[in-house]
């Protein structure tokens, strides 16, 4: 008797695992895409970087 006989149930379980895997991968790709769009839409971002950067200060009225 072949120990590795492939029963139909194994195929069904594989399809389930594959489906969940693809859905999760798609979700990760979607969140990544959303992040890229959201961040690039804000425009250039600068923060304090240990040196004085005059362009970050509010212009004097």
């Amino acid at each position: 008797m072949a120990l590795k006989a492939e029963h139909e149930i194994h195929k069904r379980r594989f399809s389930r695992n594959l489906g969940v895997g693809l859905v999760l991968a798609g979700f990760v790709a979607l969140v990544f895409g959303l992040s890229v769009v959201k961040i690039t839409n804000i425009g250039p971002i600068q923060g304090f970087d240990h040196v004085v950067r005059p362009e970050l200060t509010e212009p004097a009225e």
């Binding site: 069904r12 379980r13 399809s15 389930r16 969940v20 959303l34 769009v37």
Partner: protein, 310 residues
């Protein structure tokens, strides 16, 4: 040996059974109307944001479908139309349906809030709550007006789409809501007229069961008459246009005539020709909704080329 094990696993679910929990056919209508609501709005939305928000709205709708199947498993098992759903057929347990429904509801609302704005996410959350608690748990088994008020749940998607784009609510989005809301009762009652045995055996108080088929026929005509001004009114808002007006005139005339045909018949005539008119009007009602929203999309496309605006 293998045979003994095989019977134990016979009913184990595949991926498709879990997908079926999300009511893919209802979902396709939600995707279409939400997408139209989003695209006809005067504010452009980035394609990636469009794709993700429509997806999250669809997942939210699917989650409410799963919760509905968890709650209604007893009714579904009795009705022929729904007996093959994953829970009554024994492929997925009711607990699993509950878990998937709750998890996907939370996920879809949170993700829609992050991807777009809190109004759209709030509307999605309210839609899920309305469909599961107000409709499934409360009204469906309690009043013959279940279809009328429950139809609100199906009417929210274009409003959510509009809120994704504009962050607000306006006459246009309320009228799109009203169009689906008023369309639902005649659509479902036409179905209930020719799917007669099902609701009777399940004990769901459909109008056909509680007040009889004559009253249902009257209701179809009256609700269709109230639907017509809503559908035509939408033509004269900022999202209406010549394509929509033409489609609305033709489809409303046909639908009103169909409703009148249903109203003029009695059961003997209907049984004699196997509910031909009722089935025809039911099919017509599907085209009715699809064409109205398709026409809104067509007018939005024309406007983007500088054509056809009022």
């Amino acid at each position: 040996m293998t045979d003994i094990h095989a019977t134990a696993f016979e009913k184990e679910a595949g991926f498709g059974d879990y997908f079926a929990l999300l009511k893919p056919r209802v979902m396709s209508l939600v995707v279409f109307t939400a997408l139209v609501g989003l695209l006809v709005a005067p504010v452009p939305v980035h394609p990636v944001v469009t794709l993700s928000s429509i997806l999250f709205i669809a997942v939210g709708a699917g989650a409410s479908g799963a919760l509905n199947m968890w709650w209604d498993a007893d009714i579904d098992a009795v009705m022929k139309r729904t007996a093959k759903r994953p829970v009554p057929s024994g492929k997925v347990t009711a607990d699993e349906a509950l878990a998937i429904g709750v998890a996907l509801s939370g996920l879809s609302v949170v993700m829609l809030a992050l991807a777009t704005n809190f109004l759209a996410a709030g509307l999605l959350a309210f839609t899920i709550f309305f469909y599961v608690v107000i409709y499934s748990m409360w009204l469906k088994r309690w009043t013959p007006q279940n279809i009328v008020i429950g139809g609100a749940a199906g009417a929210f998607p274009p409003m959510i789409g509009w809120a994704v784009a504009t962050g607000g609510i306006s006459v246009e989005s309320v009228l799109m809501f009203a169009l689906i809301f008023m369309w639902t009762p005649p659509h479902f009652w036409a179905l209930a007229l020719f799917m007669r045995a099902d609701y009777d055996t399940a004990g769901v108080p459909m109008l056909t069961v509680t007040h009889g088929r004559r009253v249902t026929r009257n209701h179809v005509l009256v609700y269709t008459a109230f639907l017509v001004p809503v559908a035509l009114g939408l033509a004269f808002t900022s999202i209406g246009g010549p394509v929509y007006l033409a489609v609305a005139l033709v489809m409303n005339a046909l639908f009103l005539k169909g409703a009148r045909d249903i109203w003029r018949r009695d059961e003997t005539q209907a049984e004699a020709d196997g509910y031909r008119t009722e089935k025809r009007v039911f099919r017509l009602s599907l085209y009715y909704l699809f064409l109205h929203f398709g026409a809104l999309l067509a007018d939005a496309a024309l406007r983007s080329f500088g054509l056809g605006a009022w």
